[in-house]
């Protein structure tokens, strides 16, 4: 499984939705993610992908769509 698939799986697990058709929709505006959902997202990225997101740098506007989340994760993996 590549990064994209893994992230989409985590998002599916968190939101109950296959978001692969809506890669640019805002998950916060759609009511699919909130603060506590974000916490779970970060913890799952850490445990399943080994990606440590520096939470003090976490800006919601940079993480609000599936595409942006995947891009952020890839950047942190690089």
């Amino acid at each position: 499984m590549d990064t994209k698939e893994k992230v989409l799986n985590i998002l599916q697990d968190l939101t109950g939705n296959d978001v692969s058709e809506d890669m640019d929709s805002n998950l916060f505006d759609a009511g699919l993610l909130d603060s506590m959902g974000t916490v779970q997202l970060l913890l799952q990225l850490q445990s399943e992908l080994g990606v440590n997101v520096p939470v003090s740098e976490f800006e919601r506007s940079k993480w609000d769509t599936p595409n942006k989340i995947i891009a952020q994760v890839k950047e942190l993996q690089a």
């Binding site: 939705n17 296959d18 009511g31």
Partner: protein, 507 residues
Amino acid sequence: MQITNVINAIDKNSEQTPDRIAYDYLGETHTYHELKCYSDALASKIGQMNLDAQAPIMVFGEQSFEMVATFLGIVKSGHAYIPIDQHSPNDRLEMIQEIAKPTACIAVEKLPIQIKGIPVINADELAQIFKTTGRFDEKLAVSGDQNYYIIFTSGTTGKPKGVQISHQNLTSFVNWMLKDFNLPDAPVSLAQAPYSFDLSVMSLYPTLVSGGTLQVLPKKITDNFKELFDYLPKMNLNVWVSTPSFVDICLLQPEFDAAHYPTLSHFMFCGEELTHRTAVQLKERFPQAKIYNTYGPTETTVAVTAMEITQKILDEDQRLPIGKPKSDMKISVLDQSGKPVDVGKTGELVISGPSVSKGYLNNPEKTAHVFQQVGNHDAYHSGDLGTKDENGVLHYLGRLDFQIKLHGYRIELEEVDHYLNAQKLIKQAVAVPKYDTNHKVSQLIAYVIAEDNDFENNMDLTVAIKKGLQATMMSYMVPNRLVFKSSLPITANGKVDIKSIMREVNS
């Protein structure tokens, strides 16, 4: 320090330390002198409005100094206040008005709908009132058994219940906070919970009566972690008051520790179970700080038991105890027939003493169901399951009914079901909690049979349903996940088989 009157104790700070900061909202500060001036002016104005003397006043807004000054002005005028969060759906506002029959409404923030039939003071008028000078008549102020505030909680039929907290209930709570927790003098306290959630009372009144400063952390900051961690160290907090869920967010940042927060000496948790995992992490980061786990339903005034979580407790108990009741309270562990169970056995926690509310406002039926007169005091049947060990220490074990706590918010699953099934895109639905490995609810999941619809995919359908739900129910009650099904499992009795859905969700 002990107090006999909450209002006088707060006002005393305006005489003794008038220039001290009472409220700090992101650097915008207000003093105790201002708090007294604003609240006296409002009390005087309310006194001239010829309102129904015993009826409460609705207050609509979010965290702001004006909100706190309004609460104080209202109780000085002899009325109780009903805090309603700005983010409440319109239906809830109307329903609370219908149930509580308030005599007036004060809109600290702009109302989303028109409130009919009662006088409304809007934000502009309120600002004008705060500029006037007025005196309040001490004899009129709320005291004794009169209601001080009324907080609405989740009700099973979709009708929220208004818990009446009297001046005496509140005074007893505040005195316990001042006596049993070794709080610093004039503490700088975290004010993070919305005022419609009674966890906020835990920082609001103990801080204001002791001349401390409320450091506000509004939702717009906590929602954006970068801003949160920029601002948090600048708050110079002494006393932390939050749900365990909120401190979990903060623990994500490695620098949330004693070296970076040297003044933080007390952590007070309430609203949901404090997990061993969270407490261990916190103790490692803040080895010198005092960490308190507290427990109590809204019906018994914020909290009634407490336990300092020491290293010894962490070593001994995997599931943390909720501690012992405050000294004037009694908590019995009763079986189904109402008899006390043996030490170490499980039963319902029944709470009695001066912290127990007189009941739900204008709802004698629900009141009679869970409140009982025992001797001179009311007893409240909490619906919480627990045990008492040989040292008299209580342990929380879960619920008797379908009530859950999600990130500190109390939710009746039946209420969620009520709203789900009223949604026009839903044919049938049932909500169940998903638990994490620490017995804590991590998500609310709804199994949904959708009505026939033209949505292209489930995502669009989910978004449409969530939008619809947000208009009718509090956002924290809206299920995190919707799982679409063509049918739901049914029990032999023809009911939806919630247990099997629970098993599936938690497998």
